[in-house]
């Protein structure tokens, strides 16, 4: 038997010739363009629906835009809400981040304990699983009794909203560590409690991070409920006032600000995660 070597394969390095620059411009813009299509269609539909008087209760996009400018910088209506956006935004942010930080402070250690210690799991897991389906809204009356009307109550409700995703993802992260890694660590001379810091914690970081991201998202999500507790300032309070005063354009402004603030806050978290979790192949949001 002989092996006949045939001629070498011709090189096929024909580079993608042609308008390379236009290609890359389109590639760069494509995500933005695609992302804008649905909001713009919705905006157009809203415009048509209001100018054609399909509804009389919803303000036109222009009215909302006008309200937003007044809300942000003032000079149009000169009422109680003119140029107060920053005040309300800061008030809400302090509750969102404060409540979130408090939630993380409780959820992380409890999650680590439930994940690592069987007795902690047996002690706490059934109780927390029953508490978890109770919506934050349902806690509102109790919260006002326990913490009174005002900021403390808002704080507590936001904290409650952010608590469970952080807890559950921490438990999952700690329990899902590949058992091989414990064996690898122990044959390399790292055993006992040292494994907690050298193996469990780093292995659980991606999952904990996902929990923190979801928790912060939920903190923004429940801020309106949190601010139903009679606080004077905050985006939730503005929305509740807008509803009472039948100023729907103010309600929509509040909604838009919450959406954007929540989005930007999430982008910061994701960017941080991408930096910290460079090692993790499935963590590039």
């Amino acid at each position: 038997m002989a092996i006949v070597e045939t001629g070498s394969v011709p090189a096929t390095a024909e580079d993608v010739a042609g308008p390379k620059s236009t290609r890359s411009t389109w590639t760069r813009l494509k995500p933005t363009v695609l992302a804008l299509i649905v909001p713009l269609l919705l905006l157009a539909f809203w415009q048509v629906a209001t100018t054609q008087h399909w509804t009389r209760l919803i303000p036109t996009p222009y009215a909302v835009a006008e309200c937003m400018v007044d809300f942000a910088v003032g000079g149009i209506f000169d009422d109680a809400y003119s140029a107060t956006l920053l005040t309300h935004l800061l008030a809400s942010m302090s509750r969102v981040y404060g409540g979130f930080a408090l939630a993380a402070l409780f959820a992380l250690p409890i999650g680590l304990m439930i994940g690592r210690m069987p007795w902690a799991r047996m002690l706490l897991d059934p109780f927390l699983q029953v508490m978890r389906p109770i919506p934050v809204t349902a806690w509102l009356p109790l919260s006002m009794i326990l913490f009174g009307l005002g900021a403390k109550s808002a704080f507590a409700l936001v904290c409650l909203g952010a608590f469970y995703p952080i807890l559950l993802n921490t438990v999952f992260g700690v329990r899902a560590v590949d058992p091989k890694l414990f064996e690898a660590a122990s044959m390399l001379g790292c055993s006992g409690n040292a494994q907690f810091y050298k193996v469990v914690l780093p292995a659980a970081v991606p999952s904990i991070f996902t929990g923190l991201r979801l928790g912060l998202g939920l903190a923004w999500f429940v801020i309106v409920v949190g601010e139903m507790t009679g606080v004077p300032e905050g985006l939730g309070a503005v929305i509740m006032d807008g509803r009472t005063l039948s100023r729907t354009e103010l309600v929509i402004c509040g909604m838009i600000v919450i959406g954007l603030a929540g989005y930007l806050s999430d982008r910061v978290v994701v960017a941080t995660g991408n930096r910290l979790l460079r090692w993790s192949p499935n963590h590039h949001g």
């Binding site: 091989k180 890694l181 064996e183 044959m187 390399l188 001379g189 790292c190 050298k198 292995a203 090692w279």
Partner: protein, 259 residues
């Protein structure tokens, strides 16, 4: 049998029984094995023959149900750095880069930064991963990951390297390269290697002793010393003669087991 006084690893009438619900599995039955320092021992056999169980007992991950596993004459109580394990699926720490993975053991022993760095540099060089020192495991190919896994065990001063089908998941070309590199490291360092494989060819290429194991219950069928000169040629008649003999031993249990 080896002639030196105390074997580095000795397995004395070791049995291992696993209880799975109401099923009893005899993973290993009355195994005897004495390994001298510097030997390259391959354990081969079909799945269920207990070769991985035996390796895990030597590592200290499992305790024997009966009998004794000894290192330098003292019972193996648990995993420790003198016996390093190289897993088939690497088991690298994904959050540590190549450098930190290799330095994991030395750092766990409490060595200082400069000392760890010196050790890491030496072993990164040994396995030829200088360019990838700062890469994370998910950025490496299977062959590179296994090089890191070998380096991290060597960096930890392991006297015995236990390898559980380490090249099983690699493509043929990478496997051959790593086999050559492993032999070179073994010859240079005079390590003791216990290597589990299901490939007769791999066993004959690497080992100076091939232990054939058969399943149901897992036991040692035969212990074969190989004195083929190195480097070994897998295509030579001598190599193939040994391959025929070992294959026959490997399949000897088929007759006994009325299927």
């Amino acid at each position: 049998m080896a002639e030196s006084a105390t074997p580095i690893v000795e397995i004395k009438s070791v049995s291992k029984i696993f209880q799975l619900q109401d099923q009893t599995i005899h993973a290993l039955s009355d195994a005897h094995l004495a390994i001298s320092k510097g030997e390259f021992v391959c354990l081969i056999g079909a799945s269920g023959c207990g070769k991985s169980t035996l390796l895990r007992i030597i590592a200290g991950f499992e305790q024997p149900s009966a009998g004794e596993a000894l290192m330098w004459g003292r019972p193996i109580a648990g995993p420790d750095p003198t016996r390093g394990m190289v897993f088939q699926d690497y088991a690298l720490f994904p959050w540590l880069n190549v450098r930190a993975n290799i330095g994991f053991g030395p750092a766990a022993r409490g060595l200082g930064g400069a000392e760890v760095k010196g050790i890491v540099d030496k072993f990164i060089d040994l396995v030829g991963l200088g360019k990838f020192a700062n890469a994370y495991p998910h950025q490496l190919s299977g062959g590179m990951k296994q090089r890191v896994a070998i380096a991290r065990v060597l960096a930890n001063d392991a006297e015995v390297v236990l390898m559980d089908e380490p090249f099983g998941a690699l493509d043929a070309m990478t496997r051959e390269r790593l086999q050559d590199e492993l032999l070179e490291i073994w010859q240079r360092t005079k390590l003791t290697v216990v290597f589990v494989t299901h490939s007769v060819e791999e066993a004959i290429f690497l080992a100076n002793r091939v232990v054939v194991m058969t399943p149901g219950p897992g036991r040692i069928e035969s212990d074969n010393a190989l004195d083929l000169p190195r480097p070994r040629d897998v295509a030579s008649p001598e190599f193939n003669a040994i391959r025929r003999v070992l294959s026959a031993k490997l399949h000897s249990h088929h007759g006994k087991k009325a299927a």
